[in-house]
Point group: D2
Chain length 457, copies 4
C-alpha cells in the first residue's frame, strides 16, 4: 500500500498515485506522465485505473497519454460528453488490493465533478481519505463562476456537495484536493498540502458559512480571473489533447535565424531571471521567468504562433518545454543558441529596463512626478496594502485593459516582489510604451523600510 503526491508548480496542481496488491491508480494525471510510470514500476505495480475528478480548465490532463502507455482505463463524471474514457456515477466502487474507492457525485465547480473516497480494507470499510478535486480545497472551496447564468444554482450544488456528502464522512478523514496555494482555482488555498475534514470544518473560512443562502451569496459575489487560455484547456480536456509522443525538440537558432523567425511571427519568450532581463534583453521579447512560466504564459501567449526561447542555460529548455506543454503550448520552435551573450556579440541591439528602489519610488511619489504607478497584483492583494497614487490592474488583465493605461506618461510597474512587475513592464514595452521602469523588491521591500501604505481600496 503506497501513495505519492505529485505537485506541479506553476499550475499548483496536485495529483496522486497510489496502489496495493500490484495495482495502482492515478488521480488527475498531468500530461508528462513519466514520473507516474517510474513510481509504479518501483512499487512493483501496474497502473490500471485513472480518475479525472472533473474536466479541468487550467492545465492539460494526461489521462489519455497515461492510458496509452499503460493500458489503464480512464474514469470521469457522467454529466459531460467526454470523447474518451468511461463515465462513473455515485456509488460506483473499485478495488485495488485492499484499497476500496467509492464515487461521490459532487457537482458545483463543474457539473460532472466527482470525489473519490478511499478506504483501507485491511483495517476497515470506514473512509480514511477523500480526493475532492476542485470541490473542497485546504482553506478554500472550488470556484463556481463557470456557468455565469446559473451562478446561484451551481453555488448551491457546491454547498450540498460539501455539506451533505463530503463533510459527513467524518472528522478523521484525510483531505486530498486537486490544487494547492497559488492556483487560479482558488485564492484562499492554504500553503500546506495536508489537512482533514475535521480541521477544515472548524477552520476553513468558507466552511464557516454554514447557512446555505449565506454560502451561495458569498460564492456568487466572488471575483475570479479567467485567463484566456482556459478555453483551449477545456477543449483539450473534453476532446483529448494531441498525443505527446515526446516533448518537442526546440532547435538551436543562431542570432540571425532567431531574429528572422521572430520577424516571421515567432513569439520571443525570455525565461531568464528578472535581473538578467532588466540587464539586457532582445527588444520586444516577453519576460516570463522559468518558475512563473506555467502560471502566466496562458495570459499572454497566443496558441497559434510558434514560440522561441531565451534561456540562461541549456538545461532550462527541457523544464520550459515541459511547463509549456502542460498548458497546451506544444509548438516551441527553437531557442537562441549561445543565449543572450550570442545576441550581444552578434552586434544586434538589446534593450534594458531600469529598476527603481522603493525608497526612490516613494520620493518620486512625494515629488508628485507625472507618472503612472501600475500595481499588477490582484484586487485582494492591492487592498491589503498599497502605495499612494497606485493604480491596480491585475497582470492577467493587462492585455484586455491596456487602453486604461495612459500611453504618454512614464510608468513604474509594481507588485509583491518585483517579478510580476517585470513581466508587466516587458509587456508594456512590447506594446510600444517606452518609458517603463520596474520596482524590484516592490511591496515586500516596502515592509522592511518605512513605507507609507494605504489599506483598502
Amino acid at each position: 500500500m503506497f501513495m505519492k503526491t505529485l505537485y506541479t508548480p506553476g499550475v499548483a496542481h496536485l495529483s496522486y498515485i497510489f496502489g496495493d496488491g500490484g495495482q495502482a491508480s492515478v488521480i488527475d494525471p498531468r500530461r508528462d506522465v513519466n514520473e507516474y510510470l517510474e513510481i509504479a514500476h518501483r512499487s512493483g505495480a501496474k497502473i490500471t485505473h485513472i480518475f479525472e475528478t472533473h474536466r479541468n480548465e487550467d492545465y492539460v490532463i494526461g489521462s489519455l497519454e497515461l492510458a496509452r502507455r499503460t493500458g489503464a482505463e480512464i474514469y470521469h463524471g457522467s454529466q459531460l460528453d467526454f470523447q474518451y474514457g468511461n463515465p462513473v456515477n455515485e456509488g460506483d466502487e473499485f478495488q485495488l488490493g485492499n484499497v476500496k474507492l467509492s464515487i461521490l457525485h459532487t457537482p458545483g465547480h463543474t457539473m460532472e465533478s466527482i470525489s473519490i473516497v478511499y478506504s483501507d480494507l485491511t483495517f476497515s470499510d470506514d473512509p480514511l481519505g477523500i480526493f475532492t478535486g476542485d470541490a473542497l480545497f485546504i482553506g478554500d472551496v472550488g470556484r463556481t463562476d463557470f456557468y455565469p447564468d446559473r451562478a446561484e444554482e451551481v453555488s448551491g450544488m457546491l454547498y450540498d456537495s460539501i455539506f451533505q456528502k463530503i463533510l459527513p464522512l467524518g472528522e478523521h478523514v484525510l483531505l486530498w484536493p486537486a490544487h494547492g496555494a497559488g492556483s487560479v482555482c482558488g485564492s484562499g488555498i492554504a500553503e500546506r498540502n495536508f489537512s482533514t475534514l475535521g480541521y477544515e470544518r472548524k477552520h476553513n473560512p468558507v466552511l464557516q458559512k454554514t447557512d446555505r443562502e449565506e454560502f451561495i451569496r458569498f460564492k456568487v459575489n466572488e471575483e475570479h480571473f479567467q485567463p484566456p487560455y482556459f478555453r483551449q484547456m477545456e477543449k483539450y480536456n473534453l476532446e483529448g489533447a494531441p498525443r505527446l509522443d515526446q516533448l518537442p525538440i526546440p532547435k538551436p537558432l543562431s542570432s540571425d535565424e532567431f531574429a528572422r523567425a521572430a520577424d516571421g511571427g515567432m513569439l520571443v519568450v525570455d525565461i531568464r531571471s528578472t535581473e538578467a532581463y532588466a540587464g539586457a534583453h532582445v527588444p520586444k521579447s516577453f519576460s516570463l521567468p522559468l518558475d512563473m512560466l506555467p502560471a502566466f504564459a496562458g495570459m499572454f501567449l497566443a496558441y497559434d504562433q510558434p514560440l522561441g526561447l531565451i534561456v540562461e542555460d541549456y538545461s532550462q529548455i527541457e523544464d520550459a518545454v515541459r511547463g509549456l506543454t502542460r498548458i497546451g503550448y506544444d509548438q516551441v520552435d527553437g531557442f537562441l543558441a549561445g543565449g543572450l551573450h550570442a545576441w550581444e556579440t552578434s552586434g544586434r541591439g538589446y534593450d534594458r529596463i531600469e529598476a527603481i528602489h522603493i525608497t526612490d519610488l516613494e520620493q518620486r511619489i512625494d515629488d508628485g512626478d507625472g507618472f503612472t504607478l501600475l500595481d499588477a497584483r490582484s484586487k485582494e492583494e492591492f487592498e491589503s496594502g498599497h502605495l499612494r497614487t497606485a493604480v491596480q490592474v491585475y497582470l492577467g488583465d493587462l492585455p484586455s485593459k491596456l487602453e486604461q493605461i495612459p500611453r504618454r506618461r512614464p510608468i513604474t510597474t509594481f507588485c509583491e516582489t518585483g517579478e510580476r512587475a517585470t513581466i508587466a513592464a516587458a509587456f508594456l514595452r512590447r506594446q510600444g510604451m517606452e518609458r517603463v521602469e520596474v520596482c524590484l523588491g516592490s511591496m515586500s521591500a516596502c515592509s522592511h523600510v518605512a513605507c507609507q501604505v494605504i489599506i483598502g481600496d
Copy 2:
C-alpha cells in the same frame, strides 16, 4: 509552509522536515543528512531546530551530524542523560514562521519520549498534526519491553500517554509516527504512512483495548525481538555517534587481496540477489541482499570486524555503505573488484546453494526424508500458516539458537518468499553445516499451488 517525509527503507524509519518563514525543523533525522540540506535549500529555509522524539535503539540518529552542518539546536526529552543537545519539557513551545510546535511528554516506549504537536497559526492555534515518535504508530503502538523489571509500569505510562494526552487532541489531528511497516519497533504497523487520531482511535487494534489493565496485560505479554545491535545504537544515540565526515570509501580489492583480507578477519558480505548468491558465491560469505541489508546486518555482523562487500555493480556500493552506516557499521574496508566474475576467473573455488521448488519440498515431506525444515519467519508468521514438520527459528535468533538445529541432517530453509531463507542458509553454511538447501518462493509460492498448510502452533 512545506513538509516532506523521508522514509528510510530497511529500518522503516520516518523522519520529517518542515518549515515556514525561512526556518525549518527536522524530526528524528537519519545519519546521512544531505537530503535534509537539499530540501531546506530548495525551500529557501534554514534548518534551525532538530527534535529527537526519543533515544532510538534501531538506527543511528543524525542530529549531531545535521547540527554540525547547519548550526541548528538539538532538542530531546529531559529524563535521560544525553551527552549533547537541550532538554525540553511538557508545555515548551517553539515557533517557525506560522508553525507552532508544542511539546508533550509521552513516556512508555522510553522514559524521555516526547510527542510534538503541530499547529498552523495562519488558521488557528488548534492542533493540526502530531509527531508521536514510537509512542503511537499507524495500526500499532510502541514497544514497552526495554525496562523488563518495570514492564507493567511503563506499559501503563504508554497507556496514559496515548489515552490521556495524544488522543484527546481530537479526531481531526494528523498522525506522524517515527516508523512504518517492517520496523522492528512494532509488528502490526500499517503499510501506509497516513492516518489521523480519529481513524486510529476507531481502527487501530491495540487502541480498542481501552481498559487500562487490559492494555497493560496485552503489552506485557507481547514478545519482541531485540537484535544484538540495539546496544551499539543506544550507546551511539546517548553519547553521539562518530562524526561522519563522509561515507567511508571502500577500496577495490583484487581477488587475492580480498581473499587475504577475509583470512585476516574481514567479514564477507554478499549483497547480490538471492538467485545470484545461489548460483555462485565466495565460500563462507554472508548473504545479505542490498534491500535487506539495513534490516538484517545488525543480527549477524560484529561491530569490531571490518566488512568486505561483494556487489552486482559498482553503483550498489554507495547504497550499501549508506545503509550500513545508518546502523553504525562504519568500517567497510573494500569490495571485490570485478565482482564474483573476477573471483571465478581467478580460479578460486566458489560455492552454490541448491534451490528446491515448493512442489518437490512437499514431496520430500511426504516421503519422510530425514531432513530438517527450518522456517526462519517470526512466530506470528509461522502460526498464520506453515508446512508440516517445519521447525520455527526466527532468522534474527539463529545465531543464539544454533545449537537447537541438528548438525548431522540435511536442512532446507524456508520463509515467506525465499529471501530470509537464503540469508539463513548462507549463515548455516558459514557455521559448518554443509547440506543446506533453500526453498525459493517459500510460503508465497505455496499459496499458488495446492499446499498442505498447518495454521497455529
Copy 3:
C-alpha cells in the same frame, strides 16, 4: 574546435562528433542520437553534416534519426543505391569553421566506403587526422568477405585504399576508425582507441604484408563470422530504419501475463548476470547478460517475434532496450514485473544450471566420463590454448551447427570466462538438452590453477 568520440559497447562502435564555428558534424551516428544533440548544444554548435563511412552491417545507423531532429544533411559513398542522403565522391570538400573535410574513396570493405580527411585550417591545410570507417582499424584492417565471388578483387581494392590513399597522408596523421576491439568487423583490433598512421604502418600486423599479392592472399583466407542479423542491418541501412520516435516502452507483466505471452511466442530474454541465471531462471529463457546483449542478441533472436525481458532491477530496462534497438530489435513487449523473485513466489517452476569448477572439470576429463566438453570460443581463441577432449563450436555458430552436438551425452560448456558458456548452456537447454553444466571461470580460471592445456588444433 571540439571533438568527442562516442563508444557504443557491445557492437564496439566508434562514432565521432566534432565541429568549429558553430557547426558540427557527426561521423557514423548510432540510432539513439540524444547524446549527439546534447554535445552539440553544450558546444554551442548546430549539427549540419552527417557522414556515413559505409553501409554498415553490424548495427542500425542513426543518420536519418539525427537528420530528422537537426535538419542536417547526410552524405555517403556514391557506389550504392541508398534510398536517402547525398552521394559524395573523391575530392569533395566540406568546411565547418576552420575544419576542412576531404573525401577519399576507399573501397574494399564495401564498394562505396569512404574515408574523411580532417585538416585544421587554423594551422595548415595539411591532414591532421582521418576517419577510416571499416577500411583501416587500429591493429587490423577491414573485412573483405562480403562479396564472396569477388574476394580477390575487393581485397586488392582494400590494399590500394590503404597503401595508395590512406598511408601516404603521412606518419603524423591521427587515425579514427569506426570500430574498436571486440567488434565482429575485425578480430585483431587493438584494445586502445588511439593511434596514428605512422604507428600503424610500423606495428599493425596486417600492414606488414606490404606485398599486394601477399595481402590479398591473407585476406582471402581469413575466416569471419557472419551473424544472421547482418541481413536485417543491411536492409535497414540501405533503405532507412523505422523512425524511432522514442524507445519502445516495455510494459510490466505479471508472472501470469508473462507466462501467457511466452506461450504465445514472446522470446524470454534474461539479462541478469550468469550467476543469477545459474541460480534460478524461467525455463527455456535465453541467457543474454546485459553487457553482452548487443553483441550476441543478433545470433539467437528472431526479428519477427516480440521480446520479454527478465531484469535484475528496473533501471536495466532502458539500457537493454537501447542496446536492442541499436541492432534493430524494436519490439520489446514487456518485462517480468517484480523480477525472478515474483516468478518464484508465484509458485511457477524455475530451472537452474549447475556450475562446475575448473579443477573438478579436469578431474572429470581425467576420469574419461562420457560427456561432451563444448568450447564456445572462436577458432583463434581455441587454438591459442584449450582443454583436452574439448570440441570447438563458436557461440554464434551454435544455432546452425546444433546437429553436431550429441544430444544423449551430458554437456559441459566452456569459454574464456564462463559468460559465453552460460549463454551456450541456456541455448542448449532451450533446444531440449537437459544435462548441461557450465564451467564458470573457464579458461581464465585455468591459467591460475595448474591446468593441462593444448595449444593448436
Copy 4:
C-alpha cells in the same frame, strides 16, 4: 587498455587516466578526484601510480588527495624538494599490464619537469604517445619566465628538452600535454586537444624556430601574466594542500546575515551572468560569472578572507565551490539564501551597471566625450584590433595598475565579448569609481557592425 582525458575548464587543464591489466595511472590529477575513482572502478582497475609532470603553479594538484583515497604512489621530478611523493629520473620505467611508461627529464618550464613516454607492449616497445606536461603544448610551448634571472638558461633547457628529447621520438607519436587553449600557461595553445609530434614539428609556430638562439631570444622576449594566486599554488603544490575531506559546505545566509558577514570582511562574489549582474547586484560585490570563476578569481580575491556567493540557482553552488577549491580557495562561508531576489525584497539597496551598445559607443568616441575607454584584453588581443582612444589594461593587471586609470572621468569597459568588461566594471565600482559603463558585445559585436578598428599599438 583504456584512457580518458579529463578537461578542467577555467584553468584549461588536461589530466589523463589510463590503465591496463587491472592497474591504472593518473597524470596530473586535479584536486576533486571522484571522477578518477569512478573511471577506475568502471574499468575494473585500481589506481596505483600518480605522476606529476611538474610542480604546477596555476591550480592545486590532487595527488595527495588521490593517494590518500587509493593508496597509490606519487612520482615527480627529482630536482625540487617536494614534501611528499617519490622522485623519478630519466630512464626510470614503470609497467601497468601491457603499458610501459618511461621517464624523460624535460626541464625548462620548471627545473624538475618530466615527460612520460607511453608504449603499448602488445604491439611494440616503440613510443606511441607522450605526456609532455608544460614542456610542449599543441600549437605552443611552455612558459620560461619563472626564473627571471636565468631566463636564457631555462629557455635553452626547454629547447633541448623539446628538440633533443621529445621530437626525436618520432613523427607518429601522439602528444598529450597538460593544458589546452585558454590556459595562462601558454597564449598560443590550439583549441583542439589532439595532435602528434609530427604535426607539431611541422605546424606549431614556435617549433619553426629551429635555431637554438632564435628560440631562446623568442622565449626571453615573451610577456606572460603572473597572477598573484600563483604563489599560493606553488606553496600548496610543494608542501601538499590541505586535506580536502569534502568540499566545504557554504551555509545559506539570510540577507541580514549576508550583509553583516560582508561588513565583517567576507568578500561577496556574484557568479550570475553578466546580464543579471548588470540588471541588479549587491553593492561592492565582485562579478565573476561561474564559467569564468576559476580563471579570474585568483586575480582579485585574497586568500585570507572568507567568500560569500550570490548564485542564480542552488545547483551552481557545488560547481562554484569545486572551481574555487581547485585554485585553493577553501573558505566559502555561505551564499545568499533566496538569491538576489531575497536581497531586493528585504528592502536593501542594489546597484546596476549601465550597458552601452557598440554603435552608441562609437558615436560617443566620435563626439569626443570626456571618458576613458578601458580595454581589458591582453596586449596581443588589443593589438589585433581595437577602438580609437581605447586604453589597454589587462583585466588581471587591473588591481596593480589601478592608479593609471583617471578616477574623475566616466569609464566604459570593453573586451572581446563583454564578460571581462563586466568583471572589470564591477571591480572599478568596488574601488570607488561610480560612473562605469560596460559595452556588452564589445569587439565581437564590432565585427558585425561597421566599426572603425585600429590594428597594432
